[in-house]
């Protein structure tokens, strides 16, 4: 075992101890002057958002078209989740800190209160010197509807890497945006994607030029602060031929009694021989133990291995949100392309999760791998929904799927819903699934060795998730392990 790994384990225990009794540490709100439009959704609102961002006509047209289509669509009801009907006219679609009005020219001009918010969240928005041995991480921070700052841009630009807010990309790299926006998730793909296409306000944009290995981790941190505000961000990551990038997103929100909607779209495009690793640590406010409040996390994420030998890997640690509806997918279009999905989904108290992936094998000799670890505790419901689809022309396709569910207590539920469709006889598809419980004997064994019940659960669950945790970038593996412990608090005893 490496020293580094050893220090993570220590961290986990420290952290679990430190947060004992504390439920959601990101639940604070920031008192800040905001520019917020009236609730409601209409063509005027969309025109307002577009004008605010000084968008070109084609983008406004694109939004309006998405809106027209959205109006004809129905909210999906096939997921294993239950929540009251959302009144889309009672939501605010744009809120931005007032200090952003004139747009900060550099990070030095960012409102100190915002910087403090992010520092409370443990996200550095100053480009501080990093400790020896730790890789640099460039951050784009999205606060309610706008990006408040992106770090290390100059350094990245030296390699030709573009990393900026979506709004800036529209202004500065309109050709790239126009070429790739909606090319993976079409604007009318599904109800929430159409809504996002109409009203998205900001997000992150990233382009890695041919042959470039991005020199640092890129990350986006999303923060919903305003009450009654939806967050509709859009992320677009393009890895050109032979490029490589590792990208991470993290999410938090204040504790509020009412539910808040987060309907994001993430599009990844990997060209020939390119590789994108996309990791998510999702820790939106999950609501209280009786299910009051929390974020509705209705997200469309899809990656397109557009050319030969492209590789896209999704890793997600989902611990937050009241309701999660999310299926990061891969379109394996290029021959010999590879798609991966590694997921840890934890639900506690009254949380509901319906998550999984889709692997669409279109090219020849494409392969995919799905490792899903679902952990249910409290009175929560946790469903894995996955689709593996092999097109008639996709000869030599391979898939391996492993779905493991772990139950804690006797009031929670775990569901596994795999769809497998092979239209080419040469396909080799494997599916393994297990369901287990943490046994009283395992708990007692750990307790006899000095761990309290919660530390024991955190240790056992971290072990259960190991296959997935090891796919996270080092820096975030630590954070993820802590989260696993924290989000299961109160699940035993």
């Amino acid at each position: 075992m490496s020293e580094a790994k050893a220090s993570i384990d220590k961290e986990t225990v420290d952290q679990v101890a430190k947060f004992g009794g504390e439920h959601y540490k990101y639940g604070f709100t920031t008192e800040i002057d905001v520019d917020k439009i009236p609730n409601g959704l209409s063509e005027d609102i969309i025109r307002f958002i577009s004008a605010k961002k000084e968008e070109p006509q084609w983008l406004l047209d694109w939004r309006l078209d998405a809106y027209e289509r959205w109006k004809t669509m129905d909210e999906p009801d096939w997921a294993h989740v239950d929540y009251p009907k959302i009144d889309y006219q009672d939501l605010c679609y744009y809120a931005a800190p007032k200090s952003m009005e004139d747009g900060p020219k550099s990070l030095d001009e960012v409102d100190p209160q915002l910087l403090e918010t992010y520092s409370k969240l443990g996200i550095p928005l100053q480009e501080q010197e990093v400790l020896a041995g730790v890789r640099k991480v460039a951050v784009d921070a999205v606060f309610d509807s706008v990006s408040v700052g992106t770090t290390f841009r100059e350094e990245l630009a030296k390699d030709g890497v573009i990393f900026c807010s979506f709004s800036e990309a529209v202004q500065e790299h309109p050709d790239l945006v126009k070429k790739y926006l909606g090319s993976v998730v079409p604007k009318s793909d599904n109800y929430f994607a159409a809504l996002n296409s109409a009203v998205f306000s900001d997000g992150s944009f990233c382009y890695i030029p041919p042959g470039v290995k991005c020199p640092m981790e890129l990350s986006t941190y999303f923060r919903i602060n305003e009450a009654n505000t939806g967050q509709f961000e859009r992320t677009l990551v393009i890895a050109d031929k032979g490029a490589y990038v590792s990208y991470l997103e993290g999410c938090t929100a204040p504790m509020r009694d009412e539910n808040q909607l987060h309907a994001a779209v993430v599009e990844l495009v990997a060209l020939e021989d390119a590789e994108i690793k996309y990791s998510t640590v999702q820790n939106w406010y999950p609501g209280d133990e009786n299910g009051k409040g929390g974020i509705y996390n209705f997200v469309t994420k899809r990656g397109d291995c557009r050319e030969a030998r492209a590789r896209i890997s999704w890793t997600q640690v989902e611990t937050g949100s009241a309701v999660t509806w999310k299926y990061p997918s891969c379109i394996l279009r290029g021959d010999d392309s590879v798609g991966e999905f590694y997921s840890i989904a934890i639900s506690n108290n009254m949380q509901q999760v319906d998550s999984g992936t889709k692997m669409l094998h279109l090219g020849k000799n494409t392969s995919s791998r799905i490792i899903s670890k679902g952990i249910s505790a409290g009175r929560s419901s946790n469903a894995y929904r996955g689709q593996v689809n092999v097109h008639p022309k996709a000869s030599g396709a391979r898939n391996f799927t492993q779905c493991d569910s772990l139950l804690i207590g006797d009031k929670c539920a775990a569901h596994t819903v795999p769809y497998i469709e092979a239209k080419n006889l040469s396909a080799v598809l494997e599916h393994e699934a297990t369901t287990s419980k943490i046994s009283d004997d395992q708990l007692f064994f750990c307790q006899q060795r000095g761990l309290d019940a919660e530390e024991a659960v955190a240790l056992i669950v971290n072990g259960f998730c190991r296959d997935v945790l090891q796919h996270l970038p080092m820096e975030f593996a630590v954070e993820a392990q802590k989260l696993v412990g924290i989000s299961l608090e109160g699940s035993v005893g």
Partner: protein, 254 residues
């Protein structure tokens, strides 16, 4: 000198079924006691009651550990106080390496005692030293806790945990079961290396064989939830010849 462990008239059971019926026993620091007895006499129950396993109810009597009553202490509090149980059937925890488990355990106990946790380098050194002494290689530290371990490896691993945690009182629940003679010797050597003037041991076993390698100071015979006879090491040899028959009858008639 006050006793390290003093059990007074202990009555305990599971689901209302009495298993221990007025058991008394005292272990002084530095002593090794062996408890022998037929199946169903309550030997393992005693180990679970002492370590605080859920579901084992004490209805009467008391257990004093270092002068402190164990009755209201959670299992982890007992572990932190220095009570260690080597399990008859060590549990598997998939995905958690032996090393991680040892470290989490040791640090939880140090923290519980208000001491500083051990840094990664010192821990690694200590773990290597202790495992080497038990004839375990580095590879075993990297493997997942007890997953795919042979019976002998699991038992050796229990002794490794004991060596790392250095408890005041070690209870060994049928540590010899399922071991071949070589594994038995290694385990016994590990246990003997831990004998110390301030440490007590309670060795629960079915067979005299283990006591050839771990020499007890006192041997107790347990039947029907009571100690029915106590004596020196010679008592174990006697039992080997005559069996438990007479004691079983005695306890039932008592």
């Amino acid at each position: 000198m006050s006793a390290l462990l003093e059990i007074k008239n202990l009555h305990a059971g599971v689901d209302g079924t009495p298993i221990l019926n007025g058991l008394s026993l005292a272990i002084q620091p530095g002593e090794v006691h062996a408890i022998m007895g037929p199946n169903g006499s309550g030997k393992s129950t005693l180990s679970y009651v002492l370590s605080g396993k859920d579901g084992y109810e004490v209805s009467d009597g008391d257990m004093l550990f270092d002068g402190r009553s164990l009755a209201d202490m959670a299992p982890e509090e007992r572990a932190i106080a220095g009570l260690f149980l080597a399990f008859q059937y060590p549990l598997e925890i998939p995905g958690v390496t032996n090393m991680t488990f040892l470290k989490t355990s040791l640090n939880a106990i140090l923290r519980g005692r208000g001491e500083d946790e051990m840094d990664a380098a010192s821990f690694l050194r200590l773990a290597r030293e202790k495992s080497c002494g038990l004839g375990m290689n580095d590879d075993m530290l990297k493997r997942q806790l007890n997953v795919g371990f042979s019976g002998g490896e699991k038992k050796r691993n229990e002794i490794l945990q004991m060596a790392m945690l250095e408890p005041k009182l070690a209870i060994l629940d049928e540590t010899d079961s399922g071991l071949d003679i070589d594994a038995l010797k290694t385990v016994a050597e590990g246990v003997n290396a831990l004998r110390a003037p301030d440490r007590g041991m309670l060795v629960i076993t079915h067979y005299q064989r283990l006591l050839d390698f771990i020499k007890p100071d006192v041997v107790h015979v347990m039947a029907a939830g009571q100690i029915v006879k106590s004596g020196g090491p010679e008592l174990a040899l006697e039992l080997e010849k005559s069996g438990y028959g007479e004691f079983v009858g005695e306890a039932v008639n008592a």
